[in-house]
Every structure is written in C-alpha cells, then in structure tokens.
Symmetry: C2
Subunit: 366 residues, 2 copies
DNA sequence: AATTTTTGTGTGTGCGCCCACACTTTTATT
DNA sequence: AATAAAAGTGTGGGCGCACACACAAAAATT
C-alpha cells in the first residue's frame, strides 16, 4: 500500500508561511504570536488535519512520570493479588516508553505496620502518582492525607474509601456484587432454605465494605419478596486459617443444620467448600475471585458461582488513568466500577485461558 | 522523585568502548563486528540492562503498517457491530503513533456481493494486514486465498473458519457458548420443560456455527442426564424481519404450547421477547449480545440471560495482535477465545457503564 | 609484493517535536 | 527624540535510534 505522508509541523509551517517555532507557540499557546499569524496557523492546522506525533513529543520532552503502586504481596503464586499486579505490570510495560516509571511496594495483607512502612517509603520518594489498595482504613487515610498535602494524585483499586478524595476508584461495586451473589445463590436453592453469609477477617480491614455487602445481599431477598422463605445468617470468623475456620464452621453448622447455601465474602470460598466436602454437606456456595483453589473447587462442584471483579483489568486501568492524566491531562471519572463476571463451571475455562493469553500478549514489550 | 537516567545506546557504547554504530550492528545482528567487541557489547547491554526505546526506534524507522478491517456495517447506532468497530478504533488510536494506519471497510450484513466488493478493494490496496469478520463462508474463503497468495496475514474476528489459515481467530467458542446457554436456561426452568432453540438466518452465513451451537446446547442436557425431562425443539426462520419472525413463531407456538424456555442463537432475542410479551407468554429467554434492544428487554424482564462475547475486546485484540506481529515480530496464538460474559439483570448496569467509560478512556488520543 | 576483496568501525544525518536563544520590530517610558 | 521594554519571529540543538557512508585494517587474490 502506498505510503501515507504524515503531516508534520513542518508541513503546517510551510502551508502557513511561518516557521515551526510559531506553530509550536500556537499549539501550546504560549503567546508571542500575532493574531494574524495565529489565525493562519490555526487554519493550516485544521486544513491539513495536523495532529502532533506523540512519540516525537514524548521523546523531545523526555519528561518522566513515576508511579508507585502499593498493594498486598501475594503469599503464593496464583494468589488473588498476583492478578492486579499483573495488570499493573502489563500497563507499565505498555507505557514505559512514554516515560512512565512504575515501582511496586508490597505490604503484608495482615500487617498494618507493613502498610505504613511501605507507604512511608512512597511518601519519601514523592512520585507523580500513586495506585493503592486501601485495605487498612485508618492507615490509608493517614497516607492519602499526606499525599494530598504534597499534591500527589492517588487512585484506589479493589477497595474504595468513600470521600477519600482519590483521583479515581477502580474496583467492584461491593454492594451490587453482593446483590448479585444473592441472585445467584438463590437460583441454586429450593423454595425454602437457610443461607449463610461468611466473613473471614483479620482486624478491621474492610468493615464498611462488609456492611455494604450485607446490605446488598439482603436487598436481593427483600426486593424479591423472598424474606419469608430465605433466612440469612451471618458468621464472622476472625481468621483465615483453616483450623480456626473449620472450628468456627463446625460450631455454627451444628447449631444451624438447615443451611443450604453459603455466600463467602472474600476469596476463600474454597475453604468453606473443603469443609463441606469433608463433612459431606450438600451446600451451594457463591464466592469471589478466580484464584487457583477456587477454580479447583469449582471444577469439583464444591463451589457453584464465582464472582470475579476483573482484577487484571483493575491494575491495567489504574495505570492507564494516570497515564492519561499525566500525558493527555485528562480528568478521569471518579468512580469506575469494573465488570463483575459471573463464573460457573461452564465458562470457567475461558476466563482462565483468556487471561493467560492476554498476559502473555502484552508483557515482554521491553 | 529523582530522575532516572534511561540507559541509551550511547551509554552502552561508552561502557563497551565502541561506537554506537557497533552497538546497532550487534542489536540487529547484521554482522560486521568482531567477536571480541560483540561479546563486550553484549555484556554491556546486559550489565546496564539496556533496552531500546521503541518510540525513538519507531520515529527513526518511520515505517508504516496499514491494516484493513472488513466488518459488517451497523445499520443503526448501538447495533452489535458498532462494538467491534469501537474496539478497532480504540486500538487504532492507541497505535497510531507507531505507524499503524487502520482503514475500515463495511459490508452489508445481508449482501454477499457487498462483501466481495469491499474485499476486492482491500486486495487491491495490498495492506500489511487484514482483520475480517468472515460471515460469508465462500466469499471469505475466496478472499483469504487471495490474501494468502499476496502474503498478507489476516485475522478472523467474531466467527471462525476452521482451517482457514488465519494468523489468529479472536472470538467466542460458539459450541461452548451454547453449552452455557443450556446451563443458564435450564437453571430458570422447572424440572420438566420444553425448550426452543431459535435460529434466524438469511442465506448460508454461518451454517457450521449453527451446527456447533446445536451440538453444544444439546450436550449440556445430555451430559447432565436431563434428556428425559427437557425436550429441545429447533426452529429455523429464514429472516430477521419482525413480521416474518412473528408469523413463524405463531405457527410454531400453536403447535408446541409446552415451550417454557427459548435459546436465541443471534442477537435478536428482543424480537422473541417482544413476541412473548405481546402474547403474554411466560417463557424464559437466553440470547446473545448486549445490544440496546436486548438491554431494554432484559430490564423489563423479557430476557433472562444474555451471553456477551466481548465484542469491543475482539476489535481491540485484533489490532493489538497485528501490532505485536508487525512491530515486535511476535507470533500470536492461533485461537484466542474471548470471555463469555453472563449478563443478568443484576450485573447488566456494570457492563453497559464500564464499556462506556472504557471507550471514552482510550479514544480521543489523536 | 601489489592488488583486490572482505571485514570491522566510526561519523553524520534525519525521524518529528520542544525549547532556549538570538534577533528584529513594535510599543511604552522617560 | 532617545532609550527601554515588550512583542513577534526564526534558527539550531537535542531527545534515542537506524542506517548510509567513509574509511581503516585484515584477509584473500593475483
């Protein structure tokens, strides 16, 4: 196919009978150009449909933007937090040449102090932007306040702090996701059934999120007039350790043998599933996140539904937003809920495969 | 944050005590460099962790890659085919500066001749790559053969031609999607029910796909021992016109009043839903694609499940693959099935919203 | 031993853009 | 009217890389 001549700043200059310097001044309107020439240039730009080559611009400017990401470390391969990280890395690779430098800081999912420590490091570095998963409420508030004082924009992923003044929040609408969970578990249960909502928490990580989930989950049954037939029990376990969880579950199920469905509010549904299998309990499960253990239990039939909150997408999107913000000066939407994918055994394979392809597809660009 | 000095070819040259020309020769290994220096350079590259700035490279090379996309035109805003187009445009904008030039050719969804005509135009242009939706089997085969002779790689989106020697296929696994449809419709039906699978076709567009769908749909019921309770009827209507469809449906439903669920194999589920509503039939529906009419009918409760095959993603991915192929010389995976999103009323909003955000987010880069 | 050929190496120019600087012309100030 | 200040405009160097070319050194050919 014949070459298409790109219109350059030179072309515009020639067409408008001025020098490239003038064109430049018009483009970035930094004054020092007479009204007539300005008009001429603007016309030329429109006429020739000129738009600047961002590669050249970036190269010439040579400015850098550093982004620090503060997320939980993944204790083992395939852990949930490998996925947002993956998304971050993919996007980072994509934008590397544009001067985006991404640095990762990991904190212990169960250790507020590690969060604070890593946050401190970031504050010291004074990057151009921050992406963080604000799982510890107080610590995150403290951190973001510091960032605000320094004028550093930050993006929440995975969990939101309402009123947290972030540049944007990218993650699930937890209330709605619980609503969906209600819909799903209900579809798998008989007319009359008791349902358990299991929370496993260590510390005060996400109390408000849990509250919103309870609300959303309950709403489904309320709004559909199912309250009489479906009773919801809530069990909060202060641990994610198998032994501890099993102990609590045993205690609970002995007292409540009528449970027919369980909604697990974190990515540990496989633990509950394992318990059910072990004790030959026929209880439907809806849980979160496509982590290996959950995938395994879904294949075996122990978990019926998984709600996946596009974890890879979250990471990618966060970087993309900061890139747009830095390079194109584009204000992002404040809240960007990600798609909530409903995974069942039958479409499980696609998500797993596609994500794999996708990852291979976009990294290595270095 | 302190500036991070990028390592350039100059740095490597200095470190290895050679000129940039030599570095260049090593990088592109075009010979003319003594073994000792080569080793030195390679060491320096590794030591300094040098990797070339693609912006600069692209700028220097100034090479262009033209991609032609051949897809159906969208008869109205919001039509299914606006979505892959959207994806194509988004990716095209993203890679524009890298010398990727994308041109679009639209054909009439119901007119093989228009396909052939547009295909002919593309063949004449001799682009570097082609993205096509091969909805007309024979015509597509003819076209791709021509492309192969010219050595032009092509990618199928939305529909595959098995053995079609494409660089890659990006789209749904139709058999599996029908399997999922079986799963979904079954979950909404009582123990015993008759089910209708409705095909609407004009001509011979996708006969093999329909066959695979029938297979996949049936498989769900076979594999789960549901054959005794669920009878599947198939109705193929040679039109997508409302009047014609309604006439055929009337005829069918009078003969088969026991139908409780319908699987619509294209994006026209809203038509069936409209018929049901009009005649006050209580029949569950599972259909394809998040087109406005379907969304409307899902909101009203006429459609129960929509399977969405990531149409935007398909377009994006196609361009991305060709970009990787041209610029990074990366061989893509031959088959890349997209996620099959299961949409119900409760998560509908997210898909609609997120896609909107997403689109705004990545275009405008020009 | 003189020559051609091959191999090895460095230099310079350009891709499209930004920006600092030099220079000229106009306007404001005394 | 002479001088200072401001406004208007063009030129040149550089971002990091690829590639053509000039040239030197070594190897192969007479």
């Amino acid at each position: 196919m014949e070459r298409i001549k790109k219109v350059t700043i030179q072309d515009v200059a020639r067409y408008a009978n001025v020098s490239v310097g003038t064109i430049d001044r018009v483009i970035h309107n930094r004054g020092r150009v007479s009204p007539e020439k300005r008009k001429k240039v603007e016309e030329a730009i429109k006429k020739l449909n000129f738009n600047p080559n961002m590669l050249a611009r970036t190269l010439a400017l040579g400015n850098q933007f550093t982004i620090c990401a503060l997320i939980p470390s993944a204790p083992y391969p395939g852990h949930y937090w490998t996925m947002p990280l993956n998304g971050l890395e993919m996007a980072a690779a994509q934008f590397k040449d544009y001067g985006i430098i991404t640095e990762y800081f990991f904190y212990d999912l169960f250790d507020e102090k590690s969060f604070t420590k890593q946050a401190g490091k970031i504050a010291e570095l004074e990057p151009n932007g921050v992406v963080l998963a604000p799982l510890f409420l107080e610590e995150s508030k403290f951190f973001t306040e510091k960032l605000r004082k320094k004028g550093i924009p930050y993006i929440f992923i995975d969990a939101d702090i309402p009123g947290g003044q972030s540049l944007s929040y990218i993650g699930p609408d937890v209330k709605q996701s619980a609503f969906i969970a209600g819909r799903l578990i209900n579809s798998a249960l008989p007319e009359k059934a008791d349902i358990l909502m299991v929370n496993m928490v260590k510390g005060f990580e996400n109390a408000s999120a849990l509250k919103r989930m309870e609300e959303g989950f309950g709403n489904y049954f309320r709004e559909n007039g199912l309250e009489e037939n479906k009773t919801i029990h809530t069990l909060t376990i202060q641990s994610t350790q198998k032994e501890e969880v099993f102990r609590e579950l045993t205690k609970f199920y002995i007292k409540n043998p009528s449970i027919k469905g369980a909604f697990v509010t974190n990515s540990k549904a496989f633990l509950i599933s394992e318990f059910h299998r072990h004790h030959e309990l026929d209880i439907r499960i809806v849980g979160y996140d496509l982590v290996p253990d959950n995938i395994e239990h879904m294949k075996n039939g122990g978990i019926d539904f998984i709600i996946s909150q596009s974890p890879v997408q979250q990471g990618k999107r966060a970087i993309q937003i900061l890139f747009d913000y830095f390079v194109w000066k584009k204000e992002p939407e404040k809240i960007q809920h990600v798609p909530l994918d409903i995974i069942i055994r039958e479409n499980l394979g696609f998500y797993v495969n596609f994500n794999r392809h996708f990852q291979n597809g976009e990294k290595n660009n270095q």
